[in-house]
Amino acid sequence: MAAIRNQIRELRARREITQQELADRVGVTRQTVIAIEQDKYSPSLETAFKVAIELGVPLEECFQYDPRGKR
């Protein structure tokens, strides 16, 4: 399991935001949003904050760190 996990997919679905919309708001590509949602890419701190702000939740509600996870 990845060291950094996230709830972006659930939060996005709750707010009815598409991957493309979130990508446009954050300033990344849709492929990057997909990679983050699948826990295959850990974004930079700046992007993580932007995602959390766009989803209207605190950072820790959006991203969680598991020290036993794979880096």
């Binding site: 990508a23 990344v28 590509t29 997909i34 990679a35 699948q38 295959k40 890419y41 992007t47």
Partner: protein, 142 residues
């Protein structure tokens, strides 16, 4: 949702196609080397890249690149650097060894061309390695 190709990915596929189309015949239909042939290939790859990249830019509306693109680009350059460094050492070492052992019966005036061949071959292989590394990273989501 399955990821479609991003702008950077499309440009990488175009680069790979251009590299294989231009360099492929050089390696697989290898004939006598010449400076003109190498220069011709460099011009051909530049022209083909400009045409393909322009076409992609015209037909792609969303041309955003982000931090993940930069990270993948760096990984590609790292793989390319290790490839060119390794091939240069092996290629030039082999050339020197054969020359020193007297197994390479070439005119000293042609030595420059042989070094150019080794250098150009290493450059081409490392460039293809760089592109393929980046494409694999995109397909594996990183």
């Amino acid at each position: 949702m399955a990821p479609s190709l991003s702008y950077r990915e499309k440009t990488l596929y175009a680069s790979l196609v251009a590299e294989l189309v231009v360099y492929g015949p050089y390696f697989f239909l290898h004939q006598q080397n010449s400076l003109n042939k190498v220069a011709g290939m460099i011009v051909a790859i530049i022209v083909l890249q400009i045409v393909l990249q322009s076409a992609i830019a015209i037909f792609t509306r969303n041309r955003v690149t982000d931090e993940r693109d930069h990270l993948i680009e760096l990984r590609g350059y790292r793989a390319g650097y290790f490839t060119i460094a390794t091939l240069m050492v092996i290629g030039l070492g082999a050339l020197w060894f054969h020359a020193a052992a007297g197994q390479l019966h070439i005119d000293s005036r042609m030595m420059g061309l042989h070094f150019l061949s080794v250098f150009f071959g290493a450059l081409v292989i490392s460039d293809i390695t760089k592109t393929v590394t980046q494409l694999v990273a995109y397909r594996r989501a990183l």
